[in-house]
Symmetry: D2
């Protein structure tokens, strides 16, 4: 913590700030310049609200000098985290992992058809929502547990890992037998009670960035999960809200290299939600791999015009296969290959 | 729904879009202009994702013509909603209601001291957090149920309504005996499972706007609660995220008159969270009343430098009393008075 | 400047950073903590790009400790700036000054009618555009010099100060004889060549905040004008771009108390542009005065449905008169009165 | 224009709106539904302010059905615009064009060294600022005309096209003999007087998107230039302002495919300004090509630590050469190659 005092601060004010910092457990180093005194406070606390210093009299400005997270930071595991699954798929390693599937599981026929198609094209995992958070109370809310079972069956048949979204604490136990990765959606990125519970389990969690969240906030949310003991966290960019209205959200591609510098956790990209319109999904998926993403999540539907949710952003299976071919061209530019599932 | 076809759209494309709309249950009126065909689709569905039309071939643009909410809209109850409490306080009526108190309940002595001071200054309600959502897993997480009991006791003793934040479904039953108003925080504005459960109870809910939420999204979240049968919803502006860094958030004062036009629900303002720094709270509270707010939520702490959370944005009790005097001057400019609790 | 070194930084890296800072003219104070070294660099340079330090090896983070502006800062003139006009009007003093008029000057009859009405209601100044920056090349672009002359005549007749927007350097000389205050629009807030030229004249400049500008950037732009010798600068909040679509922009009322703390310059508010819709202008004007604004700019038109620009946000003259009455009720709450022009 | 009337609108109100539209030159088609009347107004005006209808009584909502630009729209030239230079370089064609160079021209030695290095690595053009818009009045403001002459000499020697930024009208004539492309910076995207003058010349203009501009606004600004007769406009994404603070701006990669759908104009990307930190420039440049960019602008400096501006975001020449090799791997994934200058 750096506290810059005002040029007009009195000696008494400076001493009061020092006492305050010492009381909070910091050790304080004082620099008295010609015009201004600067205090450097060092210590173990990482949860401090700097505004509490900012309101003390004589204080001009307060800056953190250390990140408010520890376990999620790159220095905790400089070599990077690789998440390894029983079937040999590795997220965070040299291979880029692609998971694909419909927004929602809608029927046995639908999910089996899509699973077969995306597996054949080279996906390593199958995505599909069973519990759907919808912004309107009048929309389709998902197939629930029945959807999860179908997802698992389809994943097993086509040798695909299975990922699905968890929306509340009571669903964790229910989902555990059926999925390989828990997905936390953008709206739940700061549902801290849910994150805390996910810290107690032994399965990987893919944590999506909130639409107005900073990368520091994303890492703090990862810290919640990790502080419970679950270090298998994958971060995921899925688009932020900006002023642009032609696209649903703005996929922040720069989050990929930035997170990879700040953190050791694998970094995924979800261009389907990020951009929200089918014909822009492939360009953004290609851009994600070119920028270094460890994993992609892509929505695919065999009949998107009839999809019960998010059909507009789902690729046709043949578009997905073409995209996979393009990604195989791009990956070597970043020293990688695209993982093969079978 | 208005579907504007591209100038180059073929007759076949136009007919396919019409069929698609009819299949969805809309009735369609077609306007053929010199250069362009425009389709007006009317019908009962309000949960439609316009992007599903936007991807059809020949379509240029799609616009909703009706709001995606019904119960929360002004036309549902043009005269406005007034929420009446047993002790006679009315939110949404001619009097502006002020509720004040600490960010977190910390001890019996703390909450009783503050309750007495804010009651004396003219507050009608006591606020105080028992379950705290904190962005760091290492921060103070609240007193829980014990805090709620203290809050109730203090409210009863000084004739103040009691409001506190609910963070997850399992807390609803626990909180029910102790509070008069459930508060839903900004981070939970789109926690739809929680909103649905709050729709089943018979107590008022104050719903805070998310930091990146539009007012339409706020009204859609209110619709979730109301569609369950609970029409006692108070909306609350508490600051949105902007590029400005001198303030914690930017309190969007314009949300007050806009919501009052779009909706019949009472509209509150929380300048403490909105601005985040003590000496800006009073100006923003005054501005809220001048813009027509029905209710204010203000953080007050008798020793803010030692507060366990958000001390930097809490007023001293004497600052709160001065603010109440200023509000009494301003209220008549909008044809109102400040409610008196005792 | 505070430079926090990484925990893993070598002694050699630390020394290189120190040398770099010394070469730039800073004097450096070093604090060696248990885990981390922190360098405090003090010196006269205020234009330094901190990113140039951030890329040096071993550096973790760099923070400014002083504002990048001097002349615009509160400490330059702690008692505040009051701009005094020949007719006795004072901006920044105890009286709140209101200027009103049409978006564009359209005809002699129009501007005289409006000037009479707003003067009678209590305005001290007349606003009106002669050169109009329009986002479409096909829109009305203003009456130019003829409009300025009419504005001056109307101002003189009804004892009103005259304010109009300058859009490029070549207009400065042309406008000089006819106006009392140069207005710089939001889109030109960072047109540094224009600002530099305005620093050389002897007339007050009202500088509007850009729609995505931070308050620090606004103050830096004021610094451009002041560094040329013209200290008569009025700052003006006119709305920032946010995600909300019901309003044209979001008037950031909190900018008023924040600027008044950071700077000695008078602070104005322009609710008409900020909100963009007629029936929200009065609430936002009231809120501005309640928050402490020194000056208001309000659009008034006697026939807004036929206005050539921005009619939708113009008040009818009788609405303006009612607003002035409301402001007279509110001003005493902040220890002020509304200036009277005649 | 679509005008949706309120459900409660009277016949008289509907007729008044129709009359209003007819007076403005629209022809109006009326659809009377069970609950609501909808008016479709078609006609030649494209500069209409929809808010002027929104304030009429009985109106619920107003939507444009056509874009407010014509010349910049894709349908004006469906096959796309290719800008061809005397030396055979083509922007907007099958080859991706890369231009590189320092932020500012600083000396003969500097610009010749860099020109040689970037030319050898495969750049087709040389960038370099002579007139610098700096947010602080105390920063280096560029070499002016002398810088331009050096830029031209270096470009000629190494067979590179030359691009430099124009900041005000008076510089256009001065720059004309020395440059091949005028660059308009983000801060001047809505400097309409400057745009209008650039519409009168016969040289290509690269127009950068403002940091808070929508893509529609970018296209409207292009329309300003084109409406003067200069159709040689290149659009450029250079980063928008978001809440993220680790990066200077957020490069909106999705702008590339969106613009290519909406407009026929070539689309460039400037990752150096977009991201602002050296080690993120290459990932974002790769992502831009993977997303389909027609052109890249890259900052390169042979001694970035001593650069007078923006050193932190400049690549070393050897980093630039490595990047060019990576781009050559990626381009075939989008059916393209990287242009070779010699």
């Amino acid at each position: 913590m750096i506290v810059a005092m005002q040029e007009t601060a009195s000696e008494q004010q400076i001493e009061q700030v020092i006492e305050h910092l010492v009381r909070l457990g910091f050790s304080v180093h004082r620099t008295t310049g010609e015009r201004q005194t600067v205090l450097a406070a060092v210590g173990a606390r990482i949860d401090f609200d700097t505004r509490n210093l900012q309101v003390l009299s004589g204080v001009q400005d307060v800056h953190r000098i250390s990140a408010p997270y520890k376990l999620a930071g790159r220095s905790f595991r400089p070599e990077g985290t690789v998440i390894v699954f029983a079937n040999g798929v590795r997220i965070g390693g040299k291979e880029v992992v692609v998971m694909a599937g419909p927004c929602s599981v809608e029927s046995r026929e639908q999910i089996f058809t899509i699973a077969e198609r995306v597996g054949k094209a080279g996906a390593s995992g199958l995505r599909g929502g069973a519990f759907k958070p919808r912004s309107s109370p009048y929309s389709f809310q998902g197939m629930g547990l029945d959807g999860l079972k179908l997802l698992r069956e389809a994943g097993d048949k086509f040798n695909l890992l299975v990922i699905s979204e968890v929306m509340e604490i009571s669903q964790i136990g229910e989902m555990l037998p059926y999925i390989d990765i828990f997905q936390v959606g953008a709206r739940n990125m700061q549902n801290f009670n849910l994150l805390r519970e996910l810290g107690k389990i032994k399965k990987p969690v893919l944590l999506k960035r909130g639409i107005a969240a900073t990368l520091e906030e994303l890492l703090l949310s990862a810290e919640y999960i990790m502080s419970g003991g679950n270090y298998q966290v994958i971060l995921c960019e899925r688009g932020i809200r900006t002023f642009e209205t032609y696209t649903r959200n703005t996929l922040d591609i720069s989050a990929i290299p930035v997170i990879q510098k700040l953190s050791h956790l694998p970094m995924a990209s979800d261009p389907s939600h990020g951009i929200g319109i089918r014909d822009k999904v492939a360009p953004m998926a290609r851009a994600s791999v070119a920028a270094g993403a460890d994993m992609l999540l892509i929505e695919v539907h065999q009949d998107p015009d009839k999809a019960l949710s998010d059909g507009a952003q789902s690729l046709y299976p043949e578009q997905f296969a073409t995209l996979m071919d393009e990604l195989r061209i791009i990956a070597p530019a970043v020293g990688r290959t695209i993982a093969k599932s079978q």
